[in-house]
């Protein structure tokens, strides 16, 4: 993908959230997106047409993360109220609430089969919750982190968590191992490359770090943006050719994956860019910001 094909044109602005939008996520096929924010709501949008479809309200505090199952039937969300909500997408009802975290929950993810929700919390733990049984107890608590767990990623066989203690820990269920990669800097957000071979970690020293998962090697560092005090997302483009992330001044950065040069940089929001999410297939991206908007970017 050449630089010109980067999504740099604003296609739509999704307005509706009152207050900061904390996360924006495409669904698995990229036709819809979800956003959640300080106004305690989750909103479902059609980003391509700029339509607000549904609002999910139940959270008692800000919603920090949301994730949707591959079949688009269920949502999970988490936030400041220490609970994980398991929603039915179409009815907008909460199917289950998972309580157990002792602090705010920073991130949630479904596993591949949408049978488990894994959440990352301020209580230094990752917790796995069973969506199939009626139990609201976590089926596994991983508490080897030394500080707040900020982000979680799942593969088919692994649970990966990034923590403020500077580690990215991979829990391999198949072999029962925990692999800890200490980056030395608080990790804000982790995201997997599309080939699942690398982890991109957004560190609080304003650096994105690309790790090779098999060896734990630091492949590249991406700098230039400001990320010092906010939880900000980062991700790779769907072709894994570029790395993208927001900045605290409201701009979006694109780096070349290999030589770490800033390929593109433009001001997207008037305030901190909290989240970026790249379309799984097209050259399209959504970003959310503290300024209360979600913007859709296309080529």
């Amino acid at each position: 993908m050449s630089t010109s094909e980067l999504p740099r044109k604003e296609a739509n602005v999704l307005k509706g959230h009152e207050g900061a939008v904390l996360a924006a996520r495409f669904n698995s096929d990229g036709n819809y997106c979800l956003s959640c924010g300080k106004d305690r709501t989750i909103r479902l949008w059609n980003p391509h047409r700029g339509i607000h479809i549904k609002t999910y309200k139940s959270h008692g505090r800000e919603v920090r993360d949301v994730h949707v199952t591959p079949d688009n039937s269920k949502l999970c969300s988490c936030g400041g109220d220490r609970q994980i909500f398991y929603w039915d997408v179409s009815t907008g009802r909460v199917i289950r609430k998972f309580r157990g975290h002792d602090g705010e929950v920073n991130a949630v993810k479904f596993n591949e089969y949408a049978s488990v929700v894994v959440s990352a919390g301020y209580d230094r733990s990752l917790r796995a919750w069973d969506c199939r049984s009626h139990s609201t107890e976590p089926i596994q608590i991983i508490d080897s982190f030394l500080d707040t767990v900020m982000s979680v990623c799942l593969t088919k066989t692994e649970i990966i968590g990034g923590s403020v203690d500077g580690t990215v820990r991979t829990f391999d269920i198949r072999i029962g191992r925990e692999i800890s990669d200490d980056l030395g800097q608080p990790v804000n957000c982790i995201s997997l490359s599309n080939d699942n071979n690398c982890i991109l970690a957004n560190c609080l020293d304003s650096t994105l770090r690309l790790l090779d998962r098999s060896t734990g090697e630091l492949l590249q560092e991406y700098k230039g943006h400001a990320c010092k005090s906010y939880k900000m997302d980062c991700c790779l483009t769907n072709s894994d050719a570029h790395v993208t992330g927001g900045s605290e001044d409201g701009s979006i950065f694109f780096w070349d994956l290999v030589d770490a040069s800033v390929v593109s940089k433009f001001r997207a929001h008037s305030s901190v860019v909290t989240s970026v999410s790249y379309h799984p297939k097209d050259n399209c991206m959504i970003t959310s910001s503290v300024d209360g908007t979600v913007r859709v970017w296309k080529t």
Binding site: K156, S180, G184, L211, S229
Partner: protein, 1002 residues
């Protein structure tokens, strides 16, 4: 029965049959739902829940009714259906007295309470009047729909059907439909007034219909909504205003900013006094009231005169928006309406303002927005902030730069005093005025320090102080100026000098008469050396370069030392302020400095060059014997610098996913079949004893992984290939043979062949037999116990440690602490391995051995097992040479077969885990070094020397870690000692390879 029946005489009613009861029940249900309700009370029949008419005695109430004479059911009183308070809040039911009154009582009350509202002619009439006016106005008003749509086509319904019905039922306008309230009088009046006002303001605006669509809805719509009871009140006259502004439907620009409404009103009332007056005058004429003093509180009623009371009452509850005449929505109309210059000016102003984007017409962008969200950022920590207290000297010096210099004073004769003064001055500049005060107070009685309080040498002190300030200020300024553009300053000679890093030489116009030659020389030298700024290398590493920060004097000396060391130039015979130190102390200090400088240098180079952990250790060691102790923060910082290169670091731990998780992820549980992890131990001893088996079972895998960390660099490895191969065969053999415990116990025939294969390795048969028999006994007992326990589902506690094991573990525990020991970690590791062959050829050293072989032969039980370990090690280490697959293939079955006697292994692993714990931190910190230390050679001697050289360090770190471990929580144990296991594996590997060599030699 039939024949019998005739014999009996029946009294009372016969007991009804089941069918009848059910049919009755049905009937009752039908009745209950149907016509029975409509029956008058005296005709209704009393039935119980079954639908029966049951008589239970006249004295107890006749027929039983309902459920045991209650209105409840079997479940009790049918509760109100639960409504979640989260989604729809339970409505707060406002109870009134009417809820508790009977009909007649209500009627009674109605009379008393109702009078005022019923006979309140004013409220009614006012409302009526308002309505009529509104109607009239509705007709008068130009059509809301622009264009040629005839009004006749769109006629508003004059009276809705509901109103008509109500009227037929005797309801009148201005009267509540529901029950009247105490407040109804007031409300009615208020409604009426509102209606009037609405109408009145409408009237005013009628000529220029720039009315208040944004306010009208509020005044009329919101009120019914906010109060349930209000809606039942008489409807106010509703005047529909055509929408004439550019806002969206129902949009109220002041919805979230009601204060602006007020502001706007004030603004208008100030600026457009005239228009406002006019509005009032129109109203006045309308209501026939000539009183001009009623400011906003007009429109009380057509039939009322203004008086003070009215103004008082309605001043408070009055909403300003109703009087607010909004001309500004349509400035052009305004200008047409009135040609007043003031208005025109306003208009023009508005137009200007309206040009600003996103600003409502008539508004200005506030220079200071009070609507902005106030956010309190965390305080920004300045870059040069050091997290330990420092007297605010530098800041002061910056301020004092402008202070005129005190006259130059020759230094006092006494060189000692002079040095003292200089030292103190320097300190004071560094540490701030506070230091001066402190030392003054402290040394009040000391005649030497009299210069502080204006005594001898005070002038000189002043001068020195000023100079020092100057010096410091220059430095600070320079560093500051580096950020600003240099062109902003005017370039003076001084400035240029500053830029070039020069220090203005002190004028040597000192009266040489008073100063001794020696001191002058010193002075000159001192100045010269000061002329040069600190080298860049030091400014780059300001944190690291100040290892003695807590002792400023010492730090100063240290800096001086560094300067001299690296900058060359003239040397003074002694340090400026250390001159009063003892020779021995100075020597010691110099050594310290030398060492610290080395550390710094290394730390500096560590950034670019290879990472070495040496400085860290060194610093850590230094910290112990420098007087004040080094700043901990500095240390970590230095560590950061050095270890920066190390990131990212990878570590591997044991982690056990729970079966459910594996199931949900559709994976095979790697720990399938293994006993669940023990519940969290309550004490440390427990945790040591009850290490879950799963941890050990996964060891082969672990080793496989650690082999990556520890490259197969064993020198002897090549030689052992054959041995390893043959051992693998043995392994295979062993593995294939199922450990049939009972067979092993009760039949001795298999002893012979096993013995044959291994006899050469037995070195002390007698001893062996002895130990072996005891172990066998244990085995039998233990296995019975365990198998029993397994059947019953119990966790069998582990056996007490074997004698050798005890020795091992105790030795392991003791050595780190005992100074008499060989004081090295190598021995700690090697100890067990060395003693094991002597004591019992590993009967219990390697419980795994005996468990594989355990029951088969009392003599050889442990020996064949040993190769199992070796093979695992060697194949791991030589994964390239020997197919690792053999290993991989063999191990899982081995694991499974061996599992049953696993409780015995616990013992061994407990000791190892304690060692793990101790070595954990060590292994973490010295990861890099440890890897090469462990892998460089497997020869005993080299290993020994190697580890001896590091023994001290290791020990200290070990002690630290073990002590810290004690305080750590137990639930962390599992995760904590797991990381070390991998390292431990490598350690063990070594010890075992050594052991093996030893055996081969034998």
């Amino acid at each position: 029965m039939d024949s019998d029946e005739e014999d009996y005489v029946f009294f009372g009613t016969p007991i009804e049959r089941e069918e009848e009861i059910t049919s009755r029940r049905k009937q009752a249900a039908a009745e209950a739902s149907g016509n029975l309700r409509s029956l008058p009370p005296w005709k209704q029949e009393v039935r119980d829940e079954e639908g029966r008419r049951r008589f239970h005695g006249a004295f107890t109430g006749g027929f039983s009714a309902g459920y045991f004479n209650t209105v409840g059911t079997k479940e009790g009183w049918a509760p109100q259906s639960f409504t979640s308070s989260r989604k729809n809040r339970a409505e707060v039911k406002q109870q009134s007295i009417f809820n508790f009154l009977d009909e007649d009582e209500k009627a009674e009350l109605e009379g008393t309470l109702g009078t005022s509202s019923q006979f309140d002619t004013f409220g009614f009439t006012a409302a009526e009047f308002a309505r009529k006016q509104a109607d009239k106005e509705q007709k008068q008003r130009p059509s809301a729909i622009p264009g040629p749509v005839p009004d006749e086509l769109v006629l508003p319904a004059s009276e809705s059907i509901g109103v008509k019905l109500l009227l037929k039922m005797g309801w009148r306008h201005g009267r509540a439909i529901k029950d009247s309230r105490a407040s109804s009088l007031y409300d009615a009046r208020r409604e009426a007034r509102k209606a009037f006002l609405a109408f009145a303001s409408e009237d005013v605006k009628a000529p220029y219909p720039a009315n208040e669509p944004d306010e009208e809805p509020e005044s009329f719509m919101t009120q019914p909504v906010d109060n349930d009871t209000q809606s039942s009140k008489s409807l106010p006259a509703f005047v529909c205003n055509p929408k004439q502004d550019l806002h969206g439907l129902g949009y109220d620009p002041f919805k979230h900013a009601p204060e602006f409404r007020e502001k706007k009103r004030l603004h208008l009332s100030n600026d457009k006094q005239h228009g406002y007056r006019k509005a009032i005058s129109i109203k006045d004429s309308l209501f026939g009231s000539k009183s001009g003093k009623a400011a906003p509180g007009f429109g009380i009623g057509a039939l009322e005169e203004y008086d003070a009371e009215d103004e008082d009452i309605y001043g408070a509850g009055y909403d300003f928006e109703e009087t607010c005449v909004e001309e500004d929505e349509e400035p052009s109309r305004l200008s047409i309406e009135s040609k007043q210059s003031s208005r025109l000016s306003i208009e023009s102003k508005q137009k200007v303002v309206a040009k600003d984007q996103g600003v409502l017409p008539g508004f200005k962008v506030a220079s200071v927005s009070d609507y902005q969200l106030e956010r309190f950022d965390p305080p920004i920590i300045p870059k040069d902030f050091v997290p330990h207290h420092k007297f605010p000297g530098p800041l002061e010096t910056l301020k004092k730069l402008d202070v005129p210099s005190p006259p130059e004073v020759p230094p006092p004769d006494d060189s000692n005093l002079k040095l003292l003064i200089e030292g103190v001055a320097k300190l004071v500049t560094r540490c701030g005025k506070l230091f001066e005060d402190l030392s003054r107070k402290k040394n009040q009685s000391n005649p030497l320090f009299s210069f502080l309080s204006g005594g001898d040498g005070h002038d000189y002190y002043e001068r020195r102080l000023w100079e020092e300030h100057q010096k410091l200020g220059d430095q600070a300024k320079l560093s500051l100026d580096g950020k600003h553009s240099p062109s902003a300053r005017k370039m003076t000679a001084e400035g240029r000098g500053k830029l070039l890093g020069e220090k203005p030489l002190e004028r040597s116009s000192k009266k040489t008469t008073s100063s001794s030659i020696a001191s002058r020389e010193f002075q000159l030298q001192f100045n010269l050396s000061d002329t040069f700024k600190k080298p860049d290398s030091f400014s780059k590493l300001p944190e690291v370069a100040k290892p003695f920060k807590d002792d400023p004097a010492k730090q100063e000396r240290f800096e001086q030392f560094l300067k001299e060391k690296y900058e060359g130039g003239l040397r003074s015979s002694g340090y400026s302020s250390a001159s009063n130190m003892a020779e021995a102390a100075r020597a010691r200090e110099k050594l310290d400095f030398e060492a610290a400088a080395e550390v710094l240098e290394k730390g500096k180079w560590g950034k670019e060059s290879m990472v070495s952990t040496q400085p860290l250790d060194f610093l850590a060691a230094r910290m112990q014997f420098t007087s004040g102790g080094l700043e901990q923060v500095k240390d970590t910082h230095a560590e950061d610098l050095v270890t920066k290169e190390k990131y990212p670091r990878r570590e591997e731990f044991q982690w056990r996913p729970l079966p459910v998780l594996c199931k949900r992820f559709d994976l095979i549980d790697p720990f399938m079949g293994k006993p669940p992890p023990a519940p969290r131990a309550r004490s440390k001893i427990d945790s040591l004893l009850f290490i879950p088996d799963s941890v050990k079972d996964a060891k082969p895998e672990e080793d496989a992984i650690t082999s990556r960390d520890v490259p197969a660099a064993q020198t002897g490895a090549q030689k052992t290939i054959e041995a390893a191969e043959e051992e693998i065969e043995i392994v295979a053999e062993n593995v294939e043979r199922p450990v049939d415990l009972y067979k092993a116990i009760f039949s001795d025939d298999s002893d012979e062949d096993v013995e044959d294969t291994n006899t050469k390795k037995v070195e002390d048969p007698e001893k062996k037999i002895e130990v072996a028999t005891t172990t066998l006994n244990r085995l039998i007992a233990g296995d019975f116990l365990e198998s029993l326990g397994k059947e019953l589902g119990f966790e069998v506690p582990p056996d007490t440690p074997y004698s050798t094991n005890k020795a091992n573990s105790s030795a392991q525990i003791e050595t780190p602490n005992s100074d008499a020991g060989i004081t090295k970690v190598g021995t700690v590791e090697g100890h067990g391995t060395f003693c094991a062959p002597n004591v019992g050829t590993g009967t219990s050293l390697n419980p795994e051995q005996e468990t594989t072989q355990g029951g088969e032969s009392p003599k050889n039980e442990s020996i064949p097992g040993k190769p199992v370990r070796y093979s695992s090690k060697h194949t791991d280490g030589l994964s390239e040479n020997i197919s690792g697959k053999v290993n991989a293939d063999k191990f899982p079955p081995e694991d499974k077969k061996v599992r049953s006697p696993s409780s015995r292994r616990r013992n061994w692993s407990s000791s190892s885990s304690s060692e793990d714990e101790r070595s954990r931190k060590h292994s973490r910190r010295h990861r890099y070094r440890s890897s090469d230390s462990y892998s460089d050679s497997s020869s005993d001697d080299r290993e020994r020397y190697h580890s001896r050289s590091k023994g001290k360090r290791k020990r200290s770190s070990r002690e630290k870690s073990s002590s810290s471990r004690k305080h750590s929580k137990h639930h962390k144990h599992r995760s904590r000692d797991s990381p070390s296991r991998s390292h431990h594996g490598s350690e063990r590997e070594h010890s075992e390879s050594k052991e093996e060599k030893r055996k081969r030699r034998n």
